[in-house]
Subunit: 352 residues, 2 copies
Amino acid sequence: MSTLNDVARLAGVSTMTVSRVINDSGYISPETRARVNRAIAELGYMPNVLARQLRSKRTKTLALVVTDIANPFFTTIARGVEDAARARGYAVMFCNTDESEAEEIEYVRVLIQRRVDGVLLVPATDSSGSLQLLREHALPVVVLDRHVRSALVDEVLTDSETGAYLAVRHLIDLGHRSIAILTGPATVSTAVDRVAGYRRALAEAGLGAESEQILFGEFNEASGYEMTRRVLTAQPRPTAIFAGNNFIAFGAIQALRQAGVAIPDGISIVVFDDLPQGWVLDPFLTVVSQPAYEIGKQAAELMLERLTGDPPGEPRTIVLASELIVRRSTAPPRREVAATVPSLRAHMENPA
Amino acid sequence: MSTLNDVARLAGVSTMTVSRVINDSGYISPETRARVNRAIAELGYMPNVLARQLRSKRTKTLALVVTDIANPFFTTIARGVEDAARARGYAVMFCNTDESEAEEIEYVRVLIQRRVDGVLLVPATDSSGSLQLLREHALPVVVLDRHVRSALVDEVLTDSETGAYLAVRHLIDLGHRSIAILTGPATVSTAVDRVAGYRRALAEAGLGAESEQILFGEFNEASGYEMTRRVLTAQPRPTAIFAGNNFIAFGAIQALRQAGVAIPDGISIVVFDDLPQGWVLDPFLTVVSQPAYEIGKQAAELMLERLTGDPPGEPRTIVLASELIVRRSTAPPRREVAATVPSLRAHMENPA
DNA sequence: CTGTTAGCGCGTTCAG
DNA sequence: CTGAACGCGCTAACAG
């Protein structure tokens, strides 16, 4: 593998001249440039990024740490991050913590050792072990999607409280009075905030705490399934379910199907997070849609601003709005519960 | 950010001693080790991976280059690669070429510059521009999934020809006589081999070239949709479709639904590639399932053997078997014209 | 068991 | 416009 030195020797110049040609810095006479370029081509020379990074103390690499890489919400965020980063010449390392704080810290260690320039983090919990580690090593951080109480950092997230309020309000407007919320762990701000929005909507409608049905679980399908099973045996059985994220909704739908409860005839369901086009052929879920791509993009841009811009300044929090999209999984409650409706099954069998 | 030097000074030893403690190499007295470890903890020292890699000339990193990161077939391969690599202390860089040869070469350039230790490549086409580039820079390569004619390299792939043969034979056994195959570009070995298997099955059943309906397209949903639209207007209209991969099948299903053609009552469909559990609630597609995880795992292990083992040896080709899984998307044709063949019963009693 | 020397391949700094 | 010297942080190779 040839080096700067080989090129310099072949071209009859110093290594610095070659370096300048490659990085387009400083003035070079056209002839020398041509000669150097010829030597580069002849040798098939490729700069050693490691040496460059070691010397320049910048890797031009960001890391994005998410809690579930299989969730389209996070892959969409990832696309936003990558687009913004690549536009400025930065690479992105993707890391998946599976909602585990231990994994998160492990990854942060690796990222520090690899000397990434900055970390975009979706924290697994609201405790801040990894944030502290990052601060100790002076690594810039932007927190995404979830608020962290303890730390003063840049944050980009959506207004979960308002989103949840809109979703539940929609159900109330349809006439529902008994609504269950199935959400993630109480240690995660998005779960807590969505419950807050749920409560506000109920309270505003004059529905007291006695009509609350709040289940904290995990943001995954298994948990959604399990919580729904519990909801189905509750007395009184709710006429509507608010699923705290898309995977919880998957589990809920599966449980409802198994129990022969039709959507929306038997139970209405509204979901936080939309699914990207292509995941389902015929979107029928009523959802609160977050601007996932925009979250990723703005987070990356904020980071790059911190990295290249001179004024560090105060930590900034960017809150993006979410939007209620009404489709066919919500309807007014019915007295009698329909036994089976096959349309759901046809729908779920056809991914796209 | 503290360095080896800082640690050495604080512990009152040389940098080499610290290096040995960290890498667990050579003999160190327990006391010095303890002293060094204390210094490391006190400073929160984290080794600089860049410097280490530059010096040792090994990055302990593999790259996996695939043509479609959104395809579960490739993400499953990726899991196999990652598991095998991590078990031996290697990291993996994932790269997505979108079936573009230009992107592929671009990525290979980056990988050379980053000095990855080896490249696992799913080539976009059977031309070998990127393979040549890799060879020039003496980077070890293992080719996955697709055969490359021109090059002598290690390869790990499934037997597409036999898999396709089994799929089409299954359709023939069910009584189908008019079967269309929708597959990828003719520049990709998997597309070509699947056509070969399709032909062999037809020929063996005494069905001549006049009954062949072969469509080359792209391995994606849009192409599957478009090819199916064409198939639906063909004369005679086939009673069964063999989709060359899962995404082509998605497009086909969408087109069939739109045209009001039921599966399998109107048209049977068999697909190369299964979908992982969780993508669909109720698997109903008859598929040829490839051992995707195993492909990734074996490819990584072959690479690691080349990297650490001493004998380079001859290029090796590992061919894995695929398996027909009969579900509910295939059935005998309903036309009165098509008679049921006797071998059908034998087959149903003896599913492959 | 531990230290010394000598780079890995580049870019920064300063001097021509 | 170009070059010489130096060092980023670490480890291979050899001494002790």
